[in-house]
């Protein structure tokens, strides 16, 4: 077993790699890219020590394909990338969603579009995480805001992937990935590890895409004697391609219900000084750290502001947002982009008669607490 540094000055990307191994990730295929490289670097050194595999692939298309293969071979797979690589992964990310292959894609976001700002922070891929591949599929995406929470969110991402038989996106950003903080990480035996549901029926009755009550089909492993067809085409419960409108409707519905019927268990968020708040800030990831400081600054000046910090950005916790926004004088969304999750907030608060304002930054720098404070003042 690997001996990790668990107490001390630890980087976000390092915490992600430690958590991956603790959560049972035993396969990594990737192509190094700033600001995610430390994750690949560390897993390249550590995975072989625990019987895992690390492959540096030819590119991100291949990386994502390898993840799906490893997933069907029974391993818990992960890759780590940033914007340009995340774009290249979209086709096979959609494939993973269609064939329901548990896997985790870490995207340490940097400025974009294109190669953009390799070394600077961004939260510009939030919508891409949800809508990046074509067609109808849901996704789970988490955006942690401290080094310690990177650990927890990585474990959570691997567990959600296994539990819901789905790809999960872990949305870090340059600040969170590269930041070092004084932390204490848990020991592996202290965390809960979830493994995918295996079939209980004999092979001849097994349906790899069965419409089960909880919408999650048990997953056999390739080579264990179960018949297991895999195709990106719409398919029936056996995995045979189909263009039958009933089957297609059923599959799309199940793929969505698999996530949305369980969304309240997937939602993670933090309320920061919201009890008496008249104004509600909403933020996630590194921007939430500026927002927290801004809450304290603004309260010193007498304005009652609270923060809803969202960890689960997808599925979007619309119900929570609506409940907390109700009765507030205004809602202010802070993101490191030109306006992404703010649209979801607007949808969630529709008809409440609470104005929604947006404060963004897209120059690679982290939002400054003074900026947010002044922005609140102006509302």
């Amino acid at each position: 077993m690997s001996e990790f540094k668990r107490v001390g000055i630890i980087q976000g990307n390092e915490a992600c790699a430690v958590a991956a191994i603790d959560a049972g990730v035993r396969f990594f295929a990737g192509y190094p890219i700033t600001p995610s490289t430390e994750i690949a670097e560390m897993l390249a050194a550590e995975l072989p020590k625990v019987g895992g595999r690390f492959i540096q692939m030819e590119d991100e298309l291949g990386s994502m394909a390898a993840l799906v293969g490893a997933s069907f071979a029974g391993l818990k797979p992960m890759t780590a990338t940033s914007g340009p690589g995340f774009s290249l992964m979209q086709e096979n990310l959609g494939f993973a969603a269609m064939v329901e292959a548990p896997c985790v894609v870490v995207n340490v976001q940097r400025g974009g579009p294109s190669t953009g700002l390799p070394t600077k922070a961004s939260q510009g891929d939030v919508m891409q995480a949800k809508w990046g591949s074509h067609g109808n599929y849901p996704i789970i995406a988490l955006a942690p805001h401290t080094v310690r929470e990177v650990y927890d969110a990585t474990v959570m991402a691997v567990n959600f992937a296994e539990e819901y038989r789905t790809p999960v996106v872990l949305l870090l950003d340059e600040v969170i990935g590269h930041m070092r903080e004084r932390v204490v990480l848990p020991m592996p035996e202290e965390i809960k590890v979830v493994n995918r549901k295996k079939p209980s029926e004999p092979p001849e009755f097994y349906k790899p895409y069965k419409h089960t009550e909880d919408y999650i089909p048990p997953m056999a492993i390739f080579g264990e004697g179960y018949r297991f067809l895999t195709t990106g085409l719409f398919h029936d419960e056996m995995g045979f391609p189909t263009s039958d409108d009933n089957e297609i409707t059923k599959l799309v519905k199940r793929l969505h219900k698999k996530i949305y019927a369980h969304e309240e268990k997937i939602w993670r968020y933090e309320e920061f000084m919201t009890e008496d708040a008249e104004y509600l800030l909403i933020a996630y990831g590194s921007a939430a750290r500026a927002a927290k400081e801004a809450v304290l600054l603004t309260r010193k000046e007498g304005k009652k502001v609270g923060l809803l910090r969202i960890l689960t950005v997808w599925p979007f916790p619309a119900k929570i947002v609506r409940e907390l926004a109700n009765g507030k004088k205004a809602v202010l969304v802070c993101e490191l982009n030109y306006g992404e999750l703010v649209g979801e907030v607007e949808r969630a608060t529709k008809g409440l008669n609470v104005p929604v304002f947006f404060k963004g930054r897209w120059d690679g720098e982290l939002l400054h607490p003074f900026e947010i404070r002044d922005f609140i003042k102006g509302v």
Binding site: G8, I9, M179, R182, K292, G364
Partner: protein, 196 residues
């Protein structure tokens, strides 16, 4: 330059609930590594909360680099510097860019080898011949970052000499511990000579 006593400068950093440090210069000067060593010294051996962040360009050398170390007795929400208590500048560009974020009572350390300020942004501005000391006294120019850390330790007391040396031993690439510790020592000497 106004006459300051070493003790008065060190007192500025004592019992402060939040201290913000920015190390700035160009890529290749080792400022990010210096900030990591500082974070370890303060976080591991001085028992304080610490957050270290960085901003650098895509170049391996050149390009503006800055690294922030925020030190606090309590929880650190915003991990970057807002108003800086201590600013180290190793290039002219860094001085121009960041002198505005210094607190009026803040301390500026600049490398006389590269930086020749016409006006000093704060009264507590101190020039040291950092890179020249690294090149001519220590014997390796790349140890300028460690000379700077020695100066920071002796001048401000943010981290004790002992804590700094322990962190350098942990973080210096294998086989370079000795020369890096020598560089720290030379930095400390520069401060002692200035204030003797």
């Amino acid at each position: 330059m106004a006459d300051f006593k070493l003790e008065d400068i060190r007192n500025l950093f004592k019992n402060k609930s939040r201290i913000e440090v920015r190390l700035s210069g160009a890529g290749g000067q080792g400022l990010i590594l210096a900030s990591v060593i500082m974070a370890e010294a303060v976080g591991l051996f001085e028992g304080k909360n610490v957050a270290q962040t960085q901003a650098y360009g895509p170049e391996a050398r050149g390009g503006a680099t800055r690294a922030d170390v925020v030190i606090s007795e309590g929880e650190i929400y915003y991990p970057k510097a807002t108003k800086v208590d201590l600013l180290l500048v190793m290039t002219e560009e860094a001085l121009t860019k960041y002198k505005h974020v210094l607190k009026p009572e803040g301390v500026l350390i600049y490398d006389e080898f590269y930086v020749h300020p016409k006006t000093l942004p704060v009264s507590r501005s101190f020039g040291f011949d950092i890179t020249r000391t690294a090149r001519d006294v220590v014997g390796k120019m790349v140890t300028a970052n460690m000379v700077a850390l020695g100066i920071i330790s002796a001048l401000t007391g943010i981290m004790s000499e002992e804590a700094l040396k322990k962190a350098v031993e942990r973080k210096a690439p294998e086989g370079t511990e000795e020369i890096n510790l020598k560089a720290v020592e030379e930095g400390i000497k520069l401060v002692k000579e200035r204030f003797k």
